[in-house]
């Protein structure tokens, strides 16, 4: 198929999709309307289970099995990336040369590292109360560690980042989620049912299994993002193929 024909086929497909989508939009309930049957029921269920953050209640209680699926996609993608970006036989590792960092960057990076880490942990821990949770907080925790790379250098990052431990933490987060779900079975309820006492509304210990599943996701996401970034940084900074070496020699 020539380039021109391909563009025509594409234009046809896009226009047809656009027409169908616009027709479907006209049938949707009007934007900003007051009828949200699922939303109202989710809010009601979250309040019954003493979870102040309804979004967390939906993710970790009402739709906990779906979240297990999504978490497994995350786990699988990280596993795939680790396999794809491993060091192959014709490649070798070189230690990257540290370059001096401007004093301002160093100062603010080191200053913000503990602050970012604390905010990340806060967001994970308060997932059942305030906006946030394991997914968002995990990413913040993982980025906090990488401030060390920006503020100091790669070797400093490597020192606080034992990669094997993070890979185990990634798997442990996934396992903790699965096992918490199995706890429901042991208690004589359904898989991933919220079997723990709901606690006092609007306190850290509210929501039954929600804070536990939330913490499991937080651990997994934080470890997953660290492992992902480590693999990409390794490819960019450390691993060199035969071709690079030849070019370097020539």
């Amino acid at each position: 198929m020539s380039h021109r024909v391909r563009l025509w086929v594409l234009a046809l497909g896009l226009l047809a999709t656009a027409a169908l989508f616009a027709a479907a939009c006209a049938e949707l309930p009007p934007f900003g309307g007051d009828r949200h049957p699922y939303g109202d029921r989710a809010v009601h269920a979250a309040l019954l289970r003493h979870t102040a953050n309804t979004v967390s209640s939906v993710n970790f209680d009402q739709r906990a099995l779906d979240t297990l699926g999504e978490e497994s996609i995350l786990f699988g993608s990280v596993l795939g990336t680790v396999v794809l970006l491993r060091q192959t036989r014709d490649e070798h590792r070189t230690a990257p040369v540290p370059t001096p960092v401007p004093a301002g960057t160093r100062r603010y990076g080191l200053l913000l590292l503990p602050v970012t880490l604390l905010i990340g942990l806060y967001v994970v821990a308060h997932g059942q109360l305030s906006p946030g949770g394991g997914f968002q907080g995990g990413v913040v925790v993982a980025t906090a560690v990488h401030l060390l790379y920006i503020a100091v250098d790669y070797r400093a990052l490597e020192r606080v980042r034992p990669l094997g431990a993070y890979e185990i933490a990634d798997a442990a987060g996934e396992a903790a989620y699965v096992l918490t779900g199995a706890g429901g079975l042991l208690a004589g309820a359904a898989y991933l049912a919220n079997v723990l006492p709901y606690g006092t509304f609007n306190t850290l210990s509210s929501g039954g299994t929600v804070p536990l599943l939330n913490a499991a996701v937080g651990v997994e996401v934080a470890a997953a993002v660290v492992v992902l970034l480590a693999r990409f940084l390794g490819q960019a900074l450390e691993i060199e193929g035969d071709e690079d070496r030849r070019e370097g020699a020539g």
Partner: protein
């Protein structure tokens, strides 16, 4: 115009698909896939919006005192963001390997099979 937010989501989707189909670089194609995916966030949040609504979080407002937006679609969008980011990372890892093995990231130059 009450359907405009939905149409914006459709527009982002079409732009992303157009970019993927006409892309001359795999990194660019992966970026376009992310754009296509983000159209679903816009659609979901548009579906869940309620006029005068606030966040469905009851740590600082009394339940029932104010209308809240739909928490179900927010939960869907939220997990999708992190999962989408890791799937993008997986695709970029594939591109890194393709670039290493074939020395190119142009999808049109990757037609021949290599052992």
């Amino acid at each position: 115009m009450s359907v405009l937010p939905y149409l914006v989501a459709g527009w982002i989707f079409l732009v992303g698909v157009y970019g993927m189909a006409t892309s001359r670089d795999l990194v660019h194609a992966v970026g376009c896939l992310s754009v296509t995916q983000s159209s679903t966030y816009v659609l979901l949040l548009a579906v869940g919006y309620r006029k005068g609504g606030t966040a469905p979080v009851f740590s600082d407002i009394a339940p029932g005192s104010r209308p809240v937006v739909d928490p179900v679609v927010q939960a869907l969008a939220l997990t999708d963001v992190v999962v989408g980011a890791t799937v993008t990372a997986l695709l970029l890892a594939l591109v890194v390997q393709i670039a290493k093995r074939h020395g190119t990231t142009d999808p049109d130059a990757l037609s021949e099979l290599k052992g």
